[in-house]
């Protein structure tokens, strides 16, 4: 299933999750229920198209929380536009919502 932007439904869902404030892969997985094999290539594609930027979080924060550092993604303006266009085209996206009880984590 592809729209004219060349974004697959999975990729649009990832973009949508980013727009809703999800910031890293695992987070998106919990929010969307997509498999890892869809999310990470989707993130790469989104970044390559300039719809998002990414950076590694500061190692100090991670260490203080005793976990590995995360790679955070932030949606760009182009990303928002592309998402809006895709949402228009994807009626089926109406059914994709964040799952109950899930909240975008606050950094």
């Amino acid at each position: 299933m592809r729209n004219t932007n060349g974004l697959s439904l999975g990729t649009v869902m990832v973009l949508h999750a980013l727009a809703r404030g999800c910031r890293y892969g695992f987070d998106i997985m919990e929010a969307t229920g997509l498999t890892s094999g869809t999310i990470y290539p989707g993130l790469d594609k989104i970044e390559r198209l300039g719809f998002a930027t990414s950076e590694w979080e500061d190692g100090k924060i991670a260490r203080s929380e005793k976990r590995p550092p995360r790679r955070y993604y932030v949606i760009t303006e182009e990303g928002e536009k592309a998402l809006a266009a895709a949402m228009q085209r994807y009626r089926s996206l109406a059914s994709v919502e964040l799952k109950d009880g899930m909240q975008a984590p606050v950094p």
Binding site: Y24, F26, M29, T35, G37, Y40, R48, R67, P69, R71
Partner: protein
Amino acid sequence: MPPRREEYDRRPRHLRLCLAIIRVAGIAVPRARRAAWCEQWNAELMHLWRRRADLAQPRLQSCRQVILWSIGAFKHAWYLFRTDYTMDILWHDVRYGLRTMWRGKGLVAIAILSLAIGIGANTSVFSAVDVFMLRPLPYPQSHGLHTVWVTNAERGWTQVSYTVPDFVDLRERSQTMQLAATTGGTFNLSGGDRAERLRGTYVTPDFFQVLGVQPAVGRGFTQEEGVPGRDKVAIISDGVWRRRFGGDPAVLGSTIILDGETHTLVGVMPPHFWFRFPGVDVWTPLSFTGDETRSSYRLAVLGRLNDGVTREQAVEEAQRVMGQIAQDYPETSTGHSAMLLSLHEDVFDEGFQAGTLISTVAVAFVLLIACANVANLLLTHAAGRGREVALRGALGAGRIRIIRQFLAESTIIAGVGGVLGLGLSVLGIRGLIALMPPSFPQVHEIGLSPRVLLYTAVVSVFTGIIFGLAPALQSSKANAADILKEGGRGGTGARGARLRKALVVGEVALALVLLVSSALLVQGFARIRLADLGFDRSDVLTMQVMLPEPDYPDSASVVQFHSELASRLGSIPGVEAVGGITQLPLQGGSAAYYTLVGEDYSDETQRKVTDFRHITPGYFAAMDIPVLRGRAVQEGDRIDLPRVLVVNETFVLRHWEDSNPIGQQVVFGSGTAEIIGVVADTKDRGADVSQRPMAFLSAYQGLPRFFDWAIETTVPMETLMETVRSEVRSVDPNIPAYDLMSMDTLIERSLGGNTIMAKIMAALAGIALVLALGGVYGVMSYSVSQRTQELGIRMALGAPAKAVRSMVVRQGTVLASLGIVTGMGVGLGVTRGLSRFLFGVSPFDPMTFGVVAVSLLLAGLAASYFPALRATRVDPLVALRVE
């Protein structure tokens, strides 16, 4: 920043498994991104694992989730691999590959040519294997078709035709099969401008129904046409229809004259229709009178399994029926049983199976040799590029990237080789078809079918990848710093050289196997073809005539025809002697039971058998068969006089080792004959069959309707053919002389199926030899060029040219010897499988093995001599300045 190592080890096993999965998947990720990629996946894995722990899920469930999640790393890695390796880069690889290949165009051309030859040979052989062995026979639901045969363990029968009453009984009682029967025949088709001899088959009326093929024009036979007296109808082949009747559908219903009897044409079979063997042009109904005996075995029985019946059930039933027959008719049928062959097994028998298997293996060997050559040449080519590869590596090209570059090049080579090979295979297939005797069915189907093209494509791509991989791995492994330090001289170092040498040893070994096999086959071929058959076959023209019963009803008229023809042929200028015989050598045979007067053979199975022929007086003279005792058959031995008999030496040895056989009486079913002479043995059934006793009776005391003629000539026989034809016509214009050919051609044709293997193997072995020697030459000349510096120093220090030369030759010889020893071992195992085609030549013939080994060694010497010669021409000054 990935988690530290000690942290992993404290983690549960399933987590470590996930980390391993991620690491494996990471191999496909472009090198520039791999570290970051692994880090990201590891980090995400930790998040996931912690979250699972927080949620306090059942352990098993969370394990499964985590492992499934890590499998996604493969998809991600594949995605990155794909997007990284875009068409741009592919195109770049191709362009770059073409450029570098152009620089080494000599080597590349040899590689492509080797591959083209290998692929061409494989495609040619596969096209035949496909038609013979892989395709179903061209009949609807052909897997249900079987042939049924009589067996008899007591009499040593493994596959014997049916008698008419046995067939009728089987057909009546069978619940598992629809059954039809056929028997061969030949027909004189007269009328029109000239008479013609056609091969025919008598078939039961339901034959076409059972087979599932109906005439393309007109109809098959009806049940009523299987009754004697109403059976004068005929179906003809498409070939005869077009040739004799211009393809005119209006001929249906008209009459043709077969063997002097009027038949109504009712149908024309589709083009290329055949059953069990090709070349049949007429089908007429097989009618049973009810008087047939249970001791005349002449029907080939075709059965089609009914729906839902297995072959085992059909076999069991046929055996049961034959068992009943054996009980009911003990005097003729004791011990009878039955066996089934699928029609495919029947047509493409063990000889075909062994032949196709051997050809396939041989041609695979040729391809392997070609591939070894390609790998070798690519390694050589790559070795010269050590510096280039090192530079690319130093500039940041990943190992995968470099391997890809090499693979692109080898795939181009394989692709071009494949296309050229396809072109060569067109010639190969044509040659292969030309070798096939007319008795091979389905030959017209052999060609570049879609399946063959697919096969070629797969083989090409496969060889491209497999044999591009070796040099790719070799060169990409090299350490950039070492090579740049080395001054770009080598690149792949000792390991590459070892691999190249191993490839050459393998090539020589395979070539030796092929050479030995083909040498053995050619010897076997020569043995049956050039063997002394006991008669002189040069300058003998042969032909056949057949006298149909309606026109030649009795012995008098038959004898009249033959003796008039003999005298007419004998008076043609340039004809030295003329003799007629019921069957010329290698054209099949007739055998009969006999007893000697005064001996009692009450038990049928104890009676002696001898081959027999009817001959005219000139036969021994025409064939230069010496009469050892007594006299030959003479003109005067006519029907109204006591029957005379000439026997061969083997016959004499059987009964009268010490006494005189002349005057002895021999009793045949048709009467008694007196031995008047003894002739030397002749190998009438071929050189590979043990000598059998033979009895020659006078044709003028018999009724030989089918008659072959041997005409010994003193002038080129081509000049006599038309005269011979017209002499036959002048005796009776309705009798065609057919199959006019030299005795050599006749024998060659009869051996066709047996000799094709020798021809194919000789061709393949020749190709293998050239390819393998090319390999030895390539490696040696490369090694010389790599050692220019060293050789220069040696010569500068005073090494004589001879010593340098012999050093290089010695190296080549060692490689060849290793290959020969390996090949000997393999060869001893392989040649055993050839024994069917060797006709008495031992598969381990030491002479053959020795001669081939020595020749190959000498060829190896020669192949390394030229590089050695070049080595001594090295000017020390130039050599030292090489860098």
